[in-house]
Symmetry: C2
Subunit: 363 residues, 2 copies
């Protein structure tokens, strides 16, 4: 057991959208590994990535990801750098022929950015978009042409607070930006041909991005791809260059925590937390939800004060009570409570009580 | 003061080439920030990069880098991801016109890789190379044409153990891969137009790469550059996307440590350590240095046993004595003792004593 000094009791509730909360026991274990990894006398962050010690970490993390998603040897799991934003260009660099068309379901800010980069490499077709409606819902009726190079979706939209509760069925390769809801529920990975996810929501610290790719889709475009941007560089050898060692170690610890909890239990808890918070938003006379009820995100709960003048007062009350990171994204305002895996229901109850207290004193 | 439990006394001497040793006090401070940053009740790795808290970290790190290199507002300091390997393609993407030529001083494995990527974007000219001689020295007589788009150098070569002790004078933009000797000595940054350095040698954990760029050299190539690969994306705003928050925090702590020590004192100590170790290599009847004396690296000391049969026995003796990471790079064999800033002279003395002991028992 770590001593009290190592544990450094926390006093705040972390609702940040990302970088975001991790399970406390994972943070403590990560700090121990930073100081003296498994009593080896060295820090996990100070040893060569070519050691057996680190190979066990990265291979263990890859195996857990495959296990949690039900994937076999036809998929490779990569830990890359540069965030999901780098994947916005790597995906079309590797998968979109110069004269081909990539299809996009445009559900928010991150979809927009992915579309922008794809336009540098080929053509794009937006098959559905809620842009004109402030991305307040997920488009559901759209037609998919079999000639598309791939269909790109964003499974959860952190800014506006929507989530795809049904994954599209399609005959073209399916590419998913799963940055903000990966491992928040059970998910059959074989539905996808490529998944990418920045680690800094449900997995660990910012600094590594997981890419899960079905190997058979690679190598079909003709263009020359710079070595580091070519997925095949990273599927062919375990570590082409020095990877972000410590962020990967933290992901490995989180993945072990996820496996121990079980994805079914995690999903159940995430639903309970979201139901509790959306229930209060709907009940409370001072607040409004901002998205279509059927598309509400279980990860990022967005809402606003009916009277905008009250928003600063509620944020102040929340921060005084130790609830941090509730301010909405700068592009939309209002509030956003991010309730990723590591936020427990007790934390959500504190927020709900604050909303009731605020109603009592302002209604 | 951290408790004994946090400090977790280390027992090994870390000679790894990278990821490599950090100052112990920096590791301890980093672990504290991971658990509870400045008693905020939150981890530095769990808060939004858009908070004032993290802005102070990244702005503070940038300011220290400029101060240590004597740079003004005409330079931008970026913390990117993907390692120096990503810079091998970003540099020509941004600086090499399609019909232009980039000049390279080819001093080792990393120069080779940089040349390979540049060939995807334009022409390359190798103005000097020691490749045929196993990169055992640094070429010094070469002619530079004024028409080159830039000259690229690798200031320290980790694999073969050479270092550029004199920076070339040139009228074309000078680009330096300084991954393995940045901040190991006083250096006038204004000699360079672009410097890049992976953090995992003298600065911190793997996961971020420092790029220092003179802004006036950007925007001169005509090609479309993907957003994340365009240096201007990162010079125009402080953080375009979520950066590798925790690795950057660790760099900030290292930079404060470097400033406190002073670059002149660090350089003096690095020279003393290298003199001690090379002195023993030259004196000891069992070992040979592998590089030209005048080009010996102060960071990565490469040597071999005159009788190759003895190498395994020496490595075993060293590991039993807690000296880790002494095996030479897999492409060259022999030994490599990496003695970055954070290795103190007492550690080098332990290694020298082992070499003497080995001579006494095997000569």
């Amino acid at each position: 057991m770590p001593s009290k000094t190592v544990q450094e009791t926390i006093k705040k509730l972390n609702f940040y959208a990302g970088p975001a909360i991790w399970p406390r026991e994972v943070v403590i274990e990560a700090a121990k590994g930073l100081l003296n990894y498994q009593d080896s006398g060295l820090s996990i962050a100070e040893i060569s990535h070519r050691t057996d010690t680190f190979a066990e970490v990265i291979d263990g993390a890859r195996a857990l990801i495959k296990e949690l998603m039900g994937l076999g040897d036809d998929y490779s799991v990569l830990f890359l750098a540069g965030g999901a934003s780098m994947q916005f260009c790597m995906v079309p660099y590797n998968l979109l022929p110069h004269n081909g068309t990539a299809a996009f379901l445009d559900t928010g800010r991150w979809s927009e950015k992915a579309i922008k980069e794809a336009n540098l490499f080929g053509k794009t077709a937006v098959v559905g978009s809620s842009r004109e409606e402030g991305y307040s819902f997920v488009p559901k009726s759209y037609v998919l042409d079999n000639s598309y190079a791939y269909l790109h979706i964003t499974t959860n939209n952190t800014v506006c607070g929507t989530q795809l509760h049904h994954i599209p069925q399609t005959s073209v390769p399916l590419v998913a930006d799963m940055s903000s809801d990966i491992f928040s529920k059970a998910m059959d990975g074989t539905q996808f041909d490529l998944i990418y996810a920045g680690a800094q929501k449900n997995l660990g610290p910012a600094g590594t991005t997981i890419v899960i790719v079905k190997k058979e889709i690679l190598g079909k475009v003709k263009r020359a791809i710079p070595t580091m941007l070519d997925y095949r560089t990273h599927t062919k050898v375990s570590m082409f260059n020095t990877p972000p060692v410590f962020p990967i170690y933290c992901c490995y610890l989180s993945l072990q925590w996820i496996k121990k909890q079980g994805l079914a239990a995690i999903e159940k808890r995430n639903r309970e937390k979201a139901d509790l918070l959306y229930g209060e938003i709907d009940r409370n006379s001072l607040f409004d939800g901002t998205t279509a009820v059927e598309d509400r995100s279980l990860m990022n709960v967005t809402f606003r004060a009916k009277d905008e003048v009250l928003e600063a007062a509620f944020l102040k009350l929340a921060e005084e009570a130790g609830c941090m990171g509730l301010k909405g994204h700068r592009s939309v305002g209002g509030f956003r409570a991010s309730i990723y895996n590591a936020m427990d229901i007790e934390g959500v109850k504190v927020l709900v009580e604050l909303m009731k207290e605020f109603e009592n004193s302002h209604a």
